[in-house]
Each structure stands twice: as structure tokens, then as C-alpha cells.
């Protein structure tokens, strides 16, 4: 396969681009870390925590779907699955978050491996249908075995993630920045290139000797593990996990964030996650109309900016630069 080594990437893209990209990521990271100095209301910290959570979900989803074109309709399988696994480990075995978070990630990765091995040889709508089915089955099972999972009301009374909302903010920020950076550089490596070529034309890629199924499985596993990590993290921060974490509406929500932001770029989903989470919150005063406006906006964006807002911004930027030069 070839490990995603920075030298290879530099050779392909040119040194300057790497430094610039590291700097912008670093800048973003600094902004995230410094934010609490300005926003000290618990309310704001918790809202941004939510953004970190959704960023992890949207970016991890993007790695598979955005690059290979195989639409994953069951991301909630990993989010809810790891969330509940972590919760059960916490409640029954007393494992703290420092154990349950990695455990959630590993479990999700393992499930991703199993599910992926069976299903990633299917293409197009079939893979989408199967991922949906796995998530829906998990959700049903969670609801039926209510004595284990708490049914509709989930499991409460989990240990808190860290002793304070500020601590939660920073831990989630670190996990989020780590995930984004990791996914980003992965996507810019030869591995990412392979995924992209699969997305362009799977048959051709297969013809040129790439084991497309293996690449897809690895991407799926990485995608799953980050989603699982995020799910376990969220459960502890809320001190509660519920079946909504495994529901198809969460899969749809994450998908929308990535699409609106711009699939296939890792950065697009970051934008989409922040934007949709913050907009959702700020529209709260609209009461009943909020979700209506929200979903109408999503339709508009997909229709007029199908490559996402990131693409829109980049093209606008280019045009501005073009105007200045020309």
C-alpha cells in the first residue's frame, strides 16, 4: 500500500503547499484552543463541544464516501454502537472514560472491518442500502433489548468525561484536531490518491492493479474508529447515551453536514459541521420554523452548490484573485 509519508506528499504537491497547509491547520488549532479565553459561558463551551463532535463525525464519514463515492448511510452504527459499548463498560465494569473511549474506537474499527469485508464489494446503491440496514438493525436491537440498553430512554448516570465543562471542551478539541489533521494528511497521501481514483472510476483503478476492496475496507475502518471515538466521547460528556445515537436521522445529519460543507476534502465537512451546528442553535428563536428553514437551506445548497460551500468559497477566491491580476 505504501505509508502516507510526508516526503511522498511533498514530492507530489510541492513543499510550499505543505507548509501553508500546516500553518492554516495550526492557525485553526490555535483559534480553537484560545476560544475559551474569550467565551467563558458554559453555554458557549458546550455548544462548541457539540461542534467538535460533529466535525469528527462528518470528517470520518467523508474519508470513505467523499473519496470513493460509496455512500455510507449507516454511520450511526459506529457512533451509537461505540457510545453504548462505552456506556455499558462504564456502568457495569466501572471503566473510566480513559478506557472507554479507546475501547469504543477499537470496537467500532473491528465492526467496520467485519461489515466492510462483507459489503464493500458491492457497489453504488447496494452498499448504501446495506450500511443503512446494519445501522437500522442495531437500532432495533437496542430498542428491543431494553433491559440492557434502556430502551427509548437510554442509559443515564455515566461518569462525566472530565470534571468540568472546560475540560470537556479541551479534550474534545484535542481529539477533534488530531482527527482532522490525521484524516487530512491521510487524504493528501498516496492512500488518499488511491481512494480518489477509486471514486473516479472503480473499474479502471482495479484494472491498474489496485486492490480496490482492500483500500475501501481500510478507509471504512478508519472512518468507523473515529466515529466510535466521538460517540464514546459524547456519551460521557452528556452523562447519557440514547438510541438516537444509533438512529438513521443521525446518519442523515452527518451526511448533510459533509455534503453542505463539501465532500471529498476533509476540510469541507469541518465547515459544514460548524456551520450547521451553529446555525441550528442560532435559529432556535424561530421555534417551529427552525428545522424547516434549515432543511430548505440544505436543499438549496445541494442544488446550487453541489460540491459544497468549500468549493464555492475556493472558486470565489480564485475569481477575486483573477480579477485582481487580470
Amino acid at each position: 500500500m505504501g505509508s502516507p509519508c510526508l516526503q511522498e506528499v511533498e514530492l507530489f504537491f510541492g513543499r510550499g503547499v505543505i507548509i501553508r497547509r500546516l500553518a492554516s491547520l495550526g492557525g485553526f488549532g490555535l483559534l480553537v484552543m484560545l476560544a475559551p479565553l474569550v467565551l467563558d459561558e458554559i453555554y458557549h463551551l458546550e455548544l462548541l463541544f457539540l461542534c467538535h463532535y460533529y466535525v469528527m463525525l462528518a470528517c470520518s464519514w467523508d474519508l470513505l464516501t467523499g473519496f470513493t463515492g460509496n455512500v455510507n448511510f449507516g454511520h450511526a452504527f459506529f457512533i451509537g454502537g461505540a457510545g453504548f459499548a462505552g456506556a455499558l463498560l462504564n456502568k457495569h465494569l466501572g471503566f473510566g472514560p480513559w478506557l472507554t473511549l479507546p475501547a469504543g474506537a477499537v470496537l467500532a474499527a473491528f465492526c467496520g472491518l467485519i461489515v466492510g469485508s462483507f459489503t464493500l464489494r458491492l457497489r453504488g446503491p447496494y452498499f448504501a442500502a446495506v450500511t443503512f440496514c446494519f445501522a437500522a438493525l442495531l437500532y432495533k436491537w437496542i430498542m428491543i433489548r431494553h433491559e440492557i440498553f434502556g430502551g427509548e430512554e437510554g442509559l443515564s448516570g455515566l461518569d462525566w468525561l472530565t470534571p468540568s465543562p472546560l475540560g470537556n471542551y479541551y479534550l474534545s478539541a484535542l481529539l477533534m484536531l488530531g482527527s482532522v489533521a490525521g484524516l487530512y494528511f491521510l487524504s493528501r497521501s498516496s492512500f488518499g490518491l488511491a481512494l480518489r481514483s477509486i471514486g473516479q472510476n472503480e473499474s479502471t483503478s482495479q484494472g491498474s492493479g489496485i486492490d480496490t476492496t482492500r483500500y475501501k475496507i481500510i478507509a471504512f475502518v478508519i472512518s468507523a474508529s473515529i466515529a466510535g471515538l466521538a460517540g464514546a466521547m459524547y456519551g460521557h460528556a452528556q452523562m447519557h447515551v440514547g438510541p438516537e445515537m444509533a438512529h438513521d436521522s443521525l446518519s442523515s445529519l452527518v451526511l448533510m453536514m459533509a455534503v453542505v460543507g463539501g465532500m471529498g476534502s476533509i476540510i469541507g465537512p469541518v465547515i459544514g459541521a460548524y456551520l450547521l451546528t451553529l446555525v441550528n442553535e442560532s435559529l432556535r428563536f424561530m421555534g417551529e420554523l427552525r428545522l424547516l428553514i434549515y432543511s430548505a437551506a440544505v436543499v438549496v445548497v445541494i442544488l446550487f452548490a453541489p460540491k459544497g460551500l468549500l468549493d464555492l468559497f475556493l472558486r470565489a477566491g480564485e475569481r477575486l484573485r483573477g480579477l485582481r491580476q487580470g
Binding site: V71, P125, A129, V130, C133, L137, K140, L291, S295, I302
Partner: protein, 286 residues
């Protein structure tokens, strides 16, 4: 013995409903190659329109139903023209925009009608006792109308010129164009028919269940299952698997518990896709 009769009756009822919901879904895939995730939303629209005309405006049942179906069909045409046509080349985007539309439809219904279930009156009152099952005339009507609709569709496609042009586009687009058929018109018509069928199902089922903003999901999932099991693009496959699904679910509900029938279609999809991806009667080429 009476248990078997119950299962037969209820299974036929649900199988017929699933057939009605799924034929439109498989039609649009077979013809235009797209998966319309807003299909369930048309079903929902039919139910709510039926509610509006019948319960809110007090219009006569038959007229209300007809208006609801026509309304849904028009909505289908609008969706096709405005949202699907620009995206048609990229299947993934059609999936995404129809999903986004379904969610939007849900919110629109929520704003207009609220989250509570809306009750709709039965079209016919009275019932039949078969074994332990009281089958209301409403449910019988649903079955009968489902079958009439499917049969009408069949006849339309096999005999009329327009119907045959739909079939032609489904089988070989280039050849159809060569013969002078305009694919855009066919897509529009097919979507209209597909939506009308879904809307009919919605109008019929509203008195039996209730009209809620989230009701678009269940028919979509069932239609998807039926179509995958039967084979994408195969009308006969859809009918067969719809009936099978209806019986299977009723069987599980009676013999196990009411909690499990909703898992049948999920397991069925996975099994089919792992063992025989083209479905029971699907074409071999993908």
C-alpha cells in the same frame, strides 16, 4: 388453524400495500436509473392531502382521494423537473438531494399540521370477520385498489404507446432515442406515475394508521427492500417480493412478537445482497 387464516389475511393486506408502494419506486429506477429517496414523501403527501380535503375541507371522499392523487403526481413532476433533472448524471447526488427533499417535506408537514397524528375517517364503515381477524372494509378497499392500480399500470405499459415508450427507455435508451422517443418526457411521466401510485397508497392507509410528519420513512425503507429483494428494475420481482415480505412480517409478528417484523426486511436486504445481489428476478447486468 385460525392463526393460519389470520396470517393469510393480514399478510395479503400488507403485501398488497407494499406492492402499491414499491412498483412506483422500481419503475423510476428501471426507467431513469435513479433511486428516489423522496418516494416515501409522496406517500406522506398523499396521506396529508387526503386528510386536508376530507377531514378539514369536508370534500366528498372520492373527489378528495382523486385530488390528493393528482396533487401528489404534480408534486412528483415538479420534483423531477426542478431537483432531479439537474443532477441526473451523478447518482450519488440524486440520492442526496432526494433525501434532503424528503427531510424538507417532513418539516413542511410538521409546520402545517403539527407533530400529532392526524385522524382520517374510514371511507367505508363496517367490517368482515375472517377467523380471528376483523377486516375492515377500509383494509379490503386498500387491497382491492392496490391490485387494480398495479394491473392498470401493467396494462398501460404493455399496451399503450406511451407505456411502451417508457418500457423502451428502460430497456435501451439509445435505441429509444433513435426511434424518436424523448427521454426527458418519459422521465417526467414516469415520475408522475410513480408519485401518483405512492400517493394512492398514502390516501388509502391514512384512515388505518395516522398521518404523522415522520411517516415517509417506513414506506421508503419497505419499498427499497422490496425492490432490492425482487431485483431493481423488475416489476414482477417487486410484486413477488412485496407479497413475500407482507407474509413474512405477519408471520413473525404473530409467531414471535410485534417487535420483530420490522427487522425482517433489514435482514432480507442483507441476505440478498450478500448471496444474490441481483435479487430474485433482477437482470444479471449491473
Amino acid at each position: 388453524m385460525s392463526t393460519l387464516l389470520d396470517i393469510l389475511v393480514l399478510g395479503t393486506l400488507w403485501g398488497s400495500l407494499y406492492t402499491l408502494i414499491s412498483v412506483g419506486f422500481t419503475l423510476i429506477f428501471g426507467v431513469a436509473g435513479i433511486i428516489n429517496l423522496a418516494h416515501g414523501a409522496f406517500y406522506m403527501l398523499g396521506a396529508y392531502l387526503g386528510y386536508t380535503f376530507m377531514s378539514l375541507l369536508g370534500i366528498h371522499v372520492v373527489l378528495s382521494a382523486a385530488m390528493a392523487i393528482v396533487g401528489t403526481s404534480l408534486a412528483g413532476a415538479v420534483v423531477e423537473r426542478l431537483f432531479i433533472k439537474p443532477m441526473r448524471q451523478n447518482h450519488a447526488y440524486v440520492l442526496l438531494i432526494t433525501l434532503a427533499l424528503a427531510l424538507l417535506f417532513q418539516e413542511i408537514m410538521y409546520v402545517f399540521f403539527g407533530p400529532h397524528g392526524k385522524a382520517v375517517q374510514d371511507f367505508l364503515t363496517g367490517e368482515l370477520l375472517l377467523g380471528n381477524v376483523r377486516v375492515t372494509y377500509q383494509k379490503l378497499l386498500t387491497m382491492v385498489v392496490s391490485w387494480i392500480s398495479v394491473a392498470a399500470l401493467w396494462v398501460f405499459i404493455k399496451t399503450t404507446r406511451t407505456g411502451k415508450s417508457i418500457s423502451a427507455v428502460a430497456q435501451n435508451l439509445d435505441a429509444a432515442v433513435l426511434v424518436g422517443i424523448q427521454p426527458e418526457k418519459v422521465y417526467l411521466l414516469t415520475m408522475g406515475i410513480s408519485a401518483a401510485l405512492a400517493g394512492t397508497a398514502g390516501v388509502l392507509i391514512a384512515p388505518i394508521l395516522e398521518a404523522v410528519p415522520g411517516m415517509w420513512a417506513f414506506p421508503l425503507f419497505k419499498a427499497f427492500a422490496v425492490v432490492i429483494i425482487g431485483g431493481l428494475g423488475s416489476l414482477e420481482g417487486a410484486i413477488l417480493s412485496a407479497m413475500l415480505l407482507g407474509y413474512a412480517e405477519t408471520l413473525v409478528s404473530r409467531l414471535v412478537s410485534a417487535n420483530y417484523p420490522d427487522m425482517v426486511y433489514l435482514v432480507a436486504i442483507i441476505l440478498i445482497l450478500v448471496l444474490r445481489p441481483r435479487g430474485l428476478m433482477g437482470r444479471r447486468a449491473q
